[in-house]
Point group: D2
Amino acid sequence: MKVGFIGLGNMGSGMAANLLKAGHEVAVYNRSAEKTRPLVEQGARYAAQVADACRADAVFTMLADDHALECVVFGDHGVLASLGKGKTHISSSTISISLSERLTEAHGKAGQKFVAAPVLGRPEAAAAAKLAVLAAGAPDAVEPCLPLLEAIGQKTFRMGDKPPVANLVKLSANFLIASLVEALSEAMALVAKAGLDQKEFLKFLTSFDAPLFKVYGTLIAEKKFEPAGFAATLGLKDVRLALAAGESLRVPLPIASLVRDKLLTLLAQGGEKLDWSAVSLIAEEQAGLKARVA
Amino acid sequence: MKVGFIGLGNMGSGMAANLLKAGHEVAVYNRSAEKTRPLVEQGARYAAQVADACRADAVFTMLADDHALECVVFGDHGVLASLGKGKTHISSSTISISLSERLTEAHGKAGQKFVAAPVLGRPEAAAAAKLAVLAAGAPDAVEPCLPLLEAIGQKTFRMGDKPPVANLVKLSANFLIASLVEALSEAMALVAKAGLDQKEFLKFLTSFDAPLFKVYGTLIAEKKFEPAGFAATLGLKDVRLALAAGESLRVPLPIASLVRDKLLTLLAQGGEKLDWSAVSLIAEEQAGLKARVA
Amino acid sequence: MKVGFIGLGNMGSGMAANLLKAGHEVAVYNRSAEKTRPLVEQGARYAAQVADACRADAVFTMLADDHALECVVFGDHGVLASLGKGKTHISSSTISISLSERLTEAHGKAGQKFVAAPVLGRPEAAAAAKLAVLAAGAPDAVEPCLPLLEAIGQKTFRMGDKPPVANLVKLSANFLIASLVEALSEAMALVAKAGLDQKEFLKFLTSFDAPLFKVYGTLIAEKKFEPAGFAATLGLKDVRLALAAGESLRVPLPIASLVRDKLLTLLAQGGEKLDWSAVSLIAEEQAGLKARVA
Amino acid sequence: MKVGFIGLGNMGSGMAANLLKAGHEVAVYNRSAEKTRPLVEQGARYAAQVADACRADAVFTMLADDHALECVVFGDHGVLASLGKGKTHISSSTISISLSERLTEAHGKAGQKFVAAPVLGRPEAAAAAKLAVLAAGAPDAVEPCLPLLEAIGQKTFRMGDKPPVANLVKLSANFLIASLVEALSEAMALVAKAGLDQKEFLKFLTSFDAPLFKVYGTLIAEKKFEPAGFAATLGLKDVRLALAAGESLRVPLPIASLVRDKLLTLLAQGGEKLDWSAVSLIAEEQAGLKARVA
């Protein structure tokens, strides 16, 4: 296919290279032109303007934030003005759901197609075509692009026909990773202050790395909280003991404090005998979803 | 070996059964005696009193909390009074580090050995001998017990010679799991309120379940924050966008709020270009460890 | 003076009425015109359009949010287009500091004056001319307006010559009130669950209502943390005991959790003997200001 | 009356001196005896042992924490062993509600009376007899002690006949003050980073110091959330704008984040038009009290 690629940062460079390797004709545009050079050496066509990159069946955008994408799309001679009718804008940037809604509407009005295809993975994964790709949009927009998405990632996850949902899932995934990093940071500070080598702690931790999202996500999604594998009261006890250890070692653990309060809320509402994963009922209740603890 | 086992709850029953299967002589005690029956049918000796279970080379305790363990150990005819000189108390309960310190000292004074061997895993893992075991204590206490620990778990992690460290690591691990459950609960509430099936979200999530602790734990332990795979400014942007999505969908995300504030603190201190895992520097700094952002 | 007033909600109606009472000629505009009626009955001139209200020496705007104010100011025939050179826009709405910056710049370019004059107080205070007014802007803009500001409030506080600072102070004050309301809500839930009548608790509380901001604000502003009136270790102890009471009564106290973590951070950094108000050093340090605990 | 006083720290010294000034016979005991000297010079009797101080109609204890009080009361020759039948222990220390329960029971069994009389105020207030005193206990225990309590404070608040309730109210009050200090610290860091002199900010703040607990406490206690003086949606907007200002100035505001999430929870549950003080409904709901938002 004839593809444009706008935005050649850490992530975009690898993605564009993989489109080339997969045999597509790729025109590359970047605000500072020198980043196009390595790709041109690999066979890409140099696009001097956004509009040049838009003379294609589909144009990817992979930019830093809402503002950068808004300029490229809605600016003079931008994607919206330049892309042909029936052609597709594939937006891989991590953007707000409100901008994704606005893009969906604007491209629709312009007779263009819009696919949200945010990606997960660090630059090495982008270079190795090992990204996870989240694709959402009208089927007649998404399906012709699947070969492109397969060229940049190891798996494409279809997230329905509303582009903003793919963006929301991307944000949720990054939020989850950031949470895990913060929790890990606190735990690592705690064991370090007790004199343990963080690498020893890590060696242990990584031994049960694999199934946590799956085990607990399934309990949460299926609301299987009884019989409790590990009761909320025991969970509260352990988090309280971690906080007590933190207090005696002088290590604040704000995530632990927050989790303690959630488990306590669960108990206050009658969830003593439920599995500790039933804290998800509190999250649902606070979101105004129809959850009931007991 | 001749082993006593005190505490036959969801976890203890499976652990005691696996000691039997491994060919050890096991005497079982539980406050409410009926729980000993299935194990006696499998060949265990019934212990009517704590002291009966202590006529052994080593006695395990697997009880609900500090208070229960204190009663069993320090009470009249308790473990401390009943266990022979040179014999070992293996404490697998999840207890406070202060009780672990007190036990270390008391058994030492009594000429007995003390091993902290808390375990990770849910009851099914206990039944299947698939627990992770964290062992800490003097080498001459721990080493003779390794065959016992191997009988109840799939892997034993040595955590040095101070028993409380094993307890701290156990608490830290449970705190991490609880954090992940809470973060997952919030993310699941968010996508559900946007109309996505939580199971679809989960299917996607579990595809990158494996390496997160390892990838980020290594960055944190080795303090490799430059060059940034994913810069703190971008991390803050994504968490902010998740919060904005939560606000428009009316879904509070308290973990995301907390993580946002940590990333912002990192930026306030000059960490803009560091990898987002450098939030660990803030945790270390707040703990009074000698971390420096920039 | 000849004054325009745009925005006759709960707050604006009272403010405009007080301008009338003080003898000013007031033209009133509101998107839904019926709200102008009571004021017209009191002698105001009805302005059918924003531009009508701008035929004045100064025009107040008192609107719900950034978006409403942007429409009124930057829209066709808006304040920016209608106000005469040398005339003044007095913005009393609670708006973002970024919009305040933008207004400062835009009015400057248009040869108009801009005064940020956000107000504090509930509708009853607006009606009674008992608002606190925060005024910031160039002296030649603010000073001619002082009689107007005195007509609507009981006291005008000058906040320097940068309009956004007045808006920031307003936001900070509302954030403080919201914090106090949340903390009060948690404490009231705690004592209620212990069986105490909330009104009895309140009767006690209000007896020391007065000097808290002053006492602690002075300690913070002057950084007088030694000798400690109440040491951080004691503060941590009390917050921990409040959390323990909350745990036994099943009352989550998230603000208390957060405060505990801040006090613990203070101790981790050597502040054990400082007054508990030295937690402000942690806030300053996290903001990248040059604070040092010890 | 004949009074003993145990614990002559910053607070206790002033309290004992005021008992002397009021004409009571006071015997003073302190672990390190030199602190008794100034009081002996003012006419107090020196008590070399706890038991000496207990030869009195009533004995005050004013100690640092649970542990110190437990030693003094339950230790050999402690208050429990030394105080005569029908005599009264007045406990002014800030202690846990669980210790207060234990003391109530133990003194009752010993035929002694127990009054919890924790105090509020800093050392200067103790010296000036301007403490607020919270008194709880059986009427026949409290009433004879009222002259003593009046000697040390400016007002005595009766908190019913259960001693732990007075301790809980004391803890709640300190938690409230700590919350206010933390919120104030964050706000002061925010305005400082914007270049405003903290003392100017303070001058403004103290102008509305007085009525906040009363105004909002009354709304909360009486659940008068409609019509809204300031609607929850507007409250959320302002807290969001404070957070946005914090983000652009690089100032984390964790209390604001928490409050934002509470207001958002209120909106998620249908409270959009309620007064922002209705966040108290969320606190009540989370505590398992029978609150309903809408």
